[in-house]
Assembly symmetry: C2
Homo-oligomer: 209 residues x 2
């Protein structure tokens, strides 16, 4: 049975129920760890709001909530201007989720959940050693949206990626690399490829790659 | 072997290779069909840039490229102010991908790929009948980003969802509903749940739901 909810039906839901429901509707989301530093403490936060903005220049966006557990990460980004994005592997989604606990400001989520800081010679924010795909970004645009969430757009300055997952055409097999995805606020998933298609043209039968 | 690319390494990649690579890095993305209308022709476009903005009010964002095949959908949204987002089911990802072909302005992608228009009494943009989860949205904020892509944020005004996938706490089991996800520009995936966790607390062992 399909349920049809109007806007006022949605507004009348209990707060927690509505949060869980609406957070499920955007579809599957990337499971990513955001690495930042205040110079002393290295911060790590699981996020699911990363979105592709452009390839040239290479830009990724993310939506941050300034009045939540993400406050410290956002503060570090504002102060330093650099951050890392690290793919969560399907074998340690529990550690990724545990970073969402409200640790003290001077406590590093790296230590608390058992993930390893990896510093790069050419980039000032901490990477997650256990992540197979990781990126160092510099803030390129930062602004507040209509509901007081903040959008941070970063330029990729450094990319670490396993050579053997990159196809001839540049596609990176993130499923092969073990990247996880998220639904709702707390459900973690692995994936299975259904098909990969060539460029679609009108009135021409679709071909698999 | 891990490959480390600097920003200039990325800038020096061939255009198509770079597009495929960078589009893979944001992680898994939702497979969603964007439904719009100019009053005569109903338009359908597969998008993978939907992002959760907030639950109260219920807001979803998406990134649009004005100089691509998305031009007609964006034009319809600007003119009418309404659009639908419809989850792509794992059993017809080929039809979803085929909507990315460059059809004529007066040609409906619904007809061209074999998906069915569903109109609602209370909402003016076309839904995809075959989608189990579908939302009607009204534009709430619309602006241009640093690389001339456009971000459209919409308020959910109507939601169609199978009753039996909604958990007691409001979480919607989109895997159970058969929703697909995307990696890169052209790879479609189904998912398998690894775990769903309760709220994380410092120094307390994580529990599965």
């Amino acid at each position: 049975m399909t349920r049809v909810l109007s806007r006022s039906d949605i507004d009348n839901l209990a707060q927690r129920y509505r949060a869980n429901l609406i957070n499920s509707l955007s579809g599957f989301k990337p499971a990513v760890l955001l690495g930042t530093t205040d110079g002393t403490t290295h911060n790590l936060a699981v996020i699911s709001s990363v979105v592709h903005i452009g390839a040239n220049p290479p830009l990724l966006g993310m939506i941050m909530r300034p009045h939540t557990v993400q406050r410290d990460s956002l503060g570090n980004i504002k102060k330093q201007g650099f951050y890392t994005l690290n793919h969560v592997h399907t074998s340690w989604v529990d550690k990724a989720h545990q970073t969402s606990a409200r640790y003290e400001v001077d406590e590093s989520e790296f230590d608390a959940v058992g993930l390893t800081v990896q510093m790069s010679e050419h980039f000032p924010a901490p990477y997650v050693k256990e992540s197979s795909i990781k990126m160092g970004l510099k803030v390129a645009q930062h602004f507040t949206l209509l509901n007081d969430t903040e959008m941070v757009i970063g330029e990729i300055h450094e990319l670490h990626i396993p050579n053997d997952i990159i196809a001839e055409d540049g596609y990176a097999d993130i499923e092969g690399a073990g990247s996880a995805c998220i639904s709702g606020l707390d459900s973690y998933h692995s994936t299975s490829r259904l098909a990969q298609y060539t460029y679609a043209k009108p009135n021409v039968e679709l071909k698999q790659k």
